[in-house]
């Protein structure tokens, strides 16, 4: 019973993230520079940090990126986003559970966005076999700071509602919300 509930929970979160992912593609966001996007799907991951355990989180990220690459992209897009996604997850998990005293949810989101970019650049560097790509990092970092803050604050609002509704245990989430 409990296992089925867990599975359903992950499945719903994957579905939510995918919807956000597809919706984001429909938004007419100006392409400031290649590789920059809002990353709305990260709202789900940020909330999931306080709901799922680490193993389940990894499952969430892998399944989400796999299915997202079915909706558009392909093998290479999957490689990029799964590396970025897992690295981002590692950083955010560590920050949320060990460094919550120091970081607000917006900052954790920014850190995750930076880690996501680093992971993608790493794969890009391996693909084109040049590490000169990393000169592009400052640009991506700045965009990560902006989009990460937007996404982080959105996740904070979502989390507040979930805590109020009793869907997320207040004890775990509260240390990050104050």
């Amino acid at each position: 019973m409990n296992q089925a509930k867990n599975l359903a929970q992950i499945a719903i979160m994957v579905a939510l993230a995918l919807v956000l992912h597809v919706m984001e593609r429909l938004l007419p966001v100006p392409q400031v520079a290649p590789g920059i996007k809002l990353g709305l799907a990260n709202v789900v991951t940020l909330v999931a940090l306080f709901v799922l355990n680490f193993r389940q989180l990894v499952m969430l990220v892998v399944v989400r990126t796999l299915l997202a690459s079915f909706f558009g992209g392909g093998v290479s897009e999957f490689l990029f986003s799964v590396t970025g996604g897992l690295l981002s997850l590692l950083v955010m998990y560590f920050a949320a559970h060990r460094l919550a005293r120091y970081f607000s949810l917006a900052s954790i989101s920014v850190l995750g966005a930076i880690a996501h970019n680093l992971g993608q650049l790493l794969i890009a560097a391996l693909v084109v076999e040049t590490f000169g790509i990393f000169t592009y990092l400052p640009v991506l970092m700045v965009s990560a700071a902006v989009t990460g803050a937007v996404v982080g604050n959105t996740a904070k609002a979502v989390l507040l509602h979930l805590v109020k509704a009793g869907r997320v245990s207040a004890a775990g989430a509260l240390k990050i919300l104050i």
Binding site: L99, R101, F103, S104, P138, V139, M141
Partner: protein, 124 residues
């Protein structure tokens, strides 16, 4: 704001400044001026890296001279004592492939670029 937030914000600001500097960095060695006398290269100048405008004189044999002015991304002959003054009248050149020729002094200034010229060819 918590402590880590402030640290992160400060780091991001530094990166923002770095990013702006990166965007504004001088176009490096994308445009090189080659000055030839009698078919021999006597001087090459990376126009992308010229910091401030300067002038110098090219001595083209007994009593023949051309004064060349260099600014970032462009070059011209300011004065010369050649009879027809074609090189002076031509003014600035700034695109890869463009050429200034002073036939009486056998002086040629050619611009080379790593990027392709925007036109197929230049006929003069």
């Amino acid at each position: 704001m918590k402590l880590g937030d402030k640290v992160l914000l400060a780091t991001m600001l530094i990166f923002a400044v770095a990013a702006v500097l990166w965007w504004l960095r001088p176009a490096s060695s994308d445009l090189v001026a080659e000055i030839k006398l009698n078919g021999r290269v006597v001087k090459t100048i990376d126009l992308g890296r010229v910091q401030k405008p300067s002038e110098f004189t090219v001595q083209a044999g007994a009593g023949k001279y051309n004064v060349v002015r260099v600014e970032r991304g462009r070059i011209r002959v300011v004065t010369a004592n050649c009879p027809n003054q074609v090189d002076v009248k031509q003014g600035w050149i700034s695109a890869p492939g463009q050429t200034i020729v002073c036939l009486p002094h056998r002086l040629v200034i050619t611009l080379r670029g790593r990027s392709e010229p925007s036109v197929d060819d230049i006929v003069r």
